[in-house]
Amino acid sequence: MSESPCRLTVSVKRPAEPASPSQLRVSVSDTGMGSKLEEFQELNVLARETPVEKWDGTLLITTTGINDDAIYRYRFNLQEEISSARFTKLATTYKSHAQFSGTEVCLCLSNEADADDFIMWLVGFFHKILVLRAANLACELFVEQIGNAESRSVCLPQDSDDVHHSVMSSNSDRLVSGLKDYALSHGNTCDKCDKCILNRDLLKTGIGAANNAQRRKAKGLHVEVVLMIARKASDLSCWTVNCPFTQVLYFEDFVPCPISQSSFDVLVSIDWQSYGFKLKGGFIDDEGNAVLEWDNISFARVDIAIHTYLECAMLERQGSQQDRHFVRKALKSALCHLKADHAGDFLSCHGQRVLEYVPDLAESIAGLILSSTDKEFQDECITLLGLGSDQDISEGLVQSSMCEKMVSIIELNDTKENVEDNAPYLFECERLDEDSQLDEDWDEDMVFDF
């Protein structure tokens, strides 16, 4: 990314009357280091795929480097077959004494019925870019009607009361912040929800990263995954809760893009159940976004962002095998982070099922203890539980004490391997043969044993 601050502005001017046949003017400008003409040749393919009625393949490019004396302007026609004839140089303007650099690209799209769709898509795309909160980058989007400067229908970003990041913040910290706002505005389906903003701190975050930068022959691939979970409806405190779908935000090299197949495969194959999530299924929607559907959701909202980027922009990407490995590693790391920070909230599905039995078990044993006429026995039990013998011990107190201890054991051992093999037996067994599971359908009427 850029080392010095840079601004990116996208501006869309739509015609005054909706029905008028005039065109949509789109301009993308930045204060970066200026562009080389070769970079635009890549758009060649895009030009061929787009019907001429929508876009005539023409770009108006204005660019200047920091050390240039002049500001250069070109018309670039991608429909032109001969690549050398694509550029037409236009009038040059000379800078006086000011030092600046940047590029502006303008294009015109025909104003068929698509305008609203296009603007909606653009807004969504922009929102996603804003989630990244890329360092040293300020992004702006304006949509206005021609000849009517006051009628800006969209202006992004809006004033946000979020944390201002220092230059030293890592990419993942920024992504966390961006995703938090995204979640609190319900995936940008509405303007910032006032109620939810208040609950910013109730959102639970899991961050995971993986990269191969340590390896010497590395190509510097970084993967960052951020999970943002609203545990209960009260975490969000507004009516849009218990959303069973998650549209995954996927970025490659700081640009929102359709999810790669390998990353999608990772998303649907990871062991969500170990963290208390029940995945019903996943699919890729028309725009290339991964959508995950949760079953019987115990979380009010789940947001996921995945960002893969190469450390040095010039490097080429490796095959998808490597991507898959690092995405999986980062996602797992994010899930583990969630679990480590908020133990009880992300208990595996198995653990949750076991927990259901705990109150009844505790009640039973507590009832047994308190029904006893043997004072010594009772005292010993109460001492073991660490309850003071001077207070009045009620069955409820014993029960809750036992519950507490069992819950913490279950949480501690959740998804650990080999816990069962090490669990102590209630009584010593003389000789333990191999574990033979008692079949539940063992006998029908206790009749036919043989």
Partner: protein
Amino acid sequence: MAAASLFGADRRLCSADILAPDEVRARIEVAVLNFLTALTSPTSPAISVLPLISRTSANCSLRSGLLNDVSSVYLSYAFSKRSLMRESNAVAFVRVWKVMEMCYKILGEGKLVNQRELFYKLLSDSRKYFSCQRHVNRAIQDVVSLLRCTRQSLGVMASSRGALIGRLVLHEPDEEQIDCSILGASGHAITGDLKVLRKLNLSSDARYIIVVEKDAIFQRLAEDRLYNQLPCILITAKGYPDIATRFILHRLSQTFPNMLIFTLVDWNPAGLAILCTYKYGSISMGLESYRYACNVKWLGLRGDDLQLIPQNAFQELKPRDLQIAKSLMSSKFLQESHRAELTMMVDTGKRAEIEALYSYGFDFLGKYITRKIVQGDYI
């Protein structure tokens, strides 16, 4: 497969002790203390696993008595685990504790309840865990396996379905004598309380005990007062034998060692299974039932008698019959002659009920029994 050896079996016999209420309560208290100790361990707290003696055919063996020819099935020291952490048996795990809690309280009050009463109590307290009698019965057997004490020691008895009649005088201490030869056709109901049965004084001049599978046959023979023609005692459990009936039969066999014991069952795999239970005991209650095995003989119906049965009285073997037959065939304990009978049943695919003999008149059955005994026609 462990071979039965004359000097005790190769594997150690695991037994349920007959204990006084205080002793059982003490065992339960130890269980609770062990559980809490593990739960509150400062270094490695854990939820203990319950080790239960396996009640499976893999863990059972046959032993022969040294001084008599009574063989019995017994269970050895193989365990299966019940763990809260394992989903498949978490419910069973909790059930064991619920039953222990209930038994602890019952014993504390000095009571004895039967399984049905226990079921209703548990149903009202913990509907989530006990929705049918079977759950309760199994959980009780789990507690028996865990604590290694008999069911009755836990304060639970099974209601007995058994009845007996014939040349026998019962005398409960401090009670009147009961002359079982002058009772109505339904006979004397056998109580489920083993303690009472244990204290009974028995006197008899009978030479035979006839164990009858079905109540209808029992009543027929009782009405005909078979025991006035043949010196015998008639006994029935009205189906699958319960512990109390087996217990009293065993006591009779101990008190009167020269009495021969015959069984009268339908000619089908279920009948043979009932016979085997009287003879060897059961696996499901293997920790206690080995004590009550008796040397019973198969009087009828048998393959040889089939010629007496009119063709249209035969029925097809049902899938359940075949299931039972298969299970019996694969058991380690079936003696050769019994196995041959079973094979015949399966091969012909037919079954017959004792009632089929009524085609010769209602008094035929008594004559049939008498003739068989006199001729020594039993296996």
